[in-house]
């Protein structure tokens, strides 16, 4: 299910360099300006890819973790772990 405000945060970060810089220095303050649910706020603060991924467009997700400074190899490894979990759940 798409989370509008999470998507909006990611979209704004992609378009606004100043906001992205502010986000890097104080994530919680920027998140606080959006109607982000508490569990999503927690997931953002913990870089919890698994909770965030199903709620936002995959391209925005990639941009977001680039802005977060996560190396693409690590981002991909976290996504692949989700796939392994999915496959394990389906036997």
């Amino acid at each position: 299910m798409t989370d509008y405000w999470l998507s909006k945060l990611f979209f704004d970060l992609q378009h606004d360099g100043k906001l992205a810089a502010e986000f890097r220095s104080d994530m919680a303050a920027v998140i606080g300006r959006y109607e982000i649910k508490p569990e999503i706020r927690k997931a953002l603060l913990e870089d919890d890819v698994g909770t965030i991924a199903p709620r936002v467009n995959a391209y925005l997700l990639r941009f977001y973790f680039q802005i977060r400074g996560m190396p693409e190899s690590e981002f991909m490894a976290r996504l692949h772990a989700l796939q392994q979990r999915k496959e394990a759940a389906h036997g």
Partner: protein
């Protein structure tokens, strides 16, 4: 009347720009050869304007307002806003072609299509990586046809075929003797920001190529309608190839090159269509 003088398609991907200088030489050369061949053929067509069919990577549109299709009808457009594009394609403004853009829009509305319109689009890496690598003359006017290939639900493949036919009709009914070329960008298979990220589905890619070569629209539509939900999300950009294909009359497809490019995370495809009457 205007003439359709060339139809082409090429992959794109941010890493092509970001890592162009640092990727393995052999791989860069293979990518360069595909783009160069399109550039050579495009130049030989001597186009007066280029219609570029591409997705928007969350640059112009957002989920608060997301058109299925948008036609750029402005006198000019903005160059790519992505930081990784600025070093390789530093053009801040690209020429549009307002008169043909408007004609395409009116032809669409007259044909019961309802695209969005924009008098000024930002042309992101989806448009500008191919323009950069094929070495397009920066003075060549561009008419962007932006298709939602990123966020579901997306236009059906059958509708994309209809868009291609409509584009052809608009070109052939344009009253000035312009030479118009078409470039579809994106694909082939890739997977971005999802749990299969990095997957290049070669079987899907080879099947796409086979269906373009066969030229049977119904079979192409049936294949893609079934296969797209089962492969990586980036493959949805094949819609841009489908529109180009139908603009060419769904025949005359020629594969210039295809190879999986894990270095850039895409199934790299380069193609042109022989344009018949």
């Amino acid at each position: 009347m205007a003439d359709l003088v060339g139809v082409f398609a090429a992959s794109h991907g941010p890493i092509i720009a970001r890592d162009w200088e640092t990727m393995p030489t052999g791989h860069r050369n293979k990518l360069a050869a595909g783009f160069d061949e399109i550039g050579r053929r495009l130049k030989a067509c001597r186009p007066d304007l280029l219609v570029v069919i591409s997705p928007d990577h969350w640059v112009n549109f957002f989920i608060s307002n997301l058109p299925a299709v948008c036609i750029g009808i402005g006198e000019e457009h903005d160059g790519p806003p992505e930081p990784f594009m600025k070093k390789v394609f530093p053009h801040q403004r690209l020429k549009g072609h307002a008169a043909f853009g408007r004609h395409l829009l009116e032809t669409a509305l007259d044909g019961d299509f309802e695209p969005a319109l924009s008098h000024r689009l930002k042309l992101d890496h989806g448009t500008c990586i191919p323009l950069w690598r094929i070495g397009v003359d920066i003075q060549l006017p561009i008419v962007p046809l932006i298709v939602n290939d990123l966020e579901e639900p997306m236009p059906s493949i059958r509708r994309c075929l209809a868009w291609g036919r409509l584009l052809r009709r608009a070109i052939e009914s344009y009253p000035e003797p312009l030479r118009i070329a078409v470039l579809g960008t994106g694909g082939l298979s890739h997977s971005i920001g999802e749990s299969t990220m990095g997957w290049i589905d070669e079987e899907f890619d080879h099947n796409c190529i086979k269906h373009f070569e066969d030229g049977q629209e119904e079979r192409l539509a049936a294949f893609l309608t079934h296969a797209l939900p089962r492969t990586g999300n980036g493959a949805h950009e094949i819609r841009d190839w489908v529109i180009a294909h139908a603009a060419a009359g769904s025949k005359g497809f020629e594969l210039i090159d295809y190879f999986p490019s894990p270095e850039t995370l895409v199934g790299a495809g380069f193609a042109s269509w022989t344009v018949g009457k």
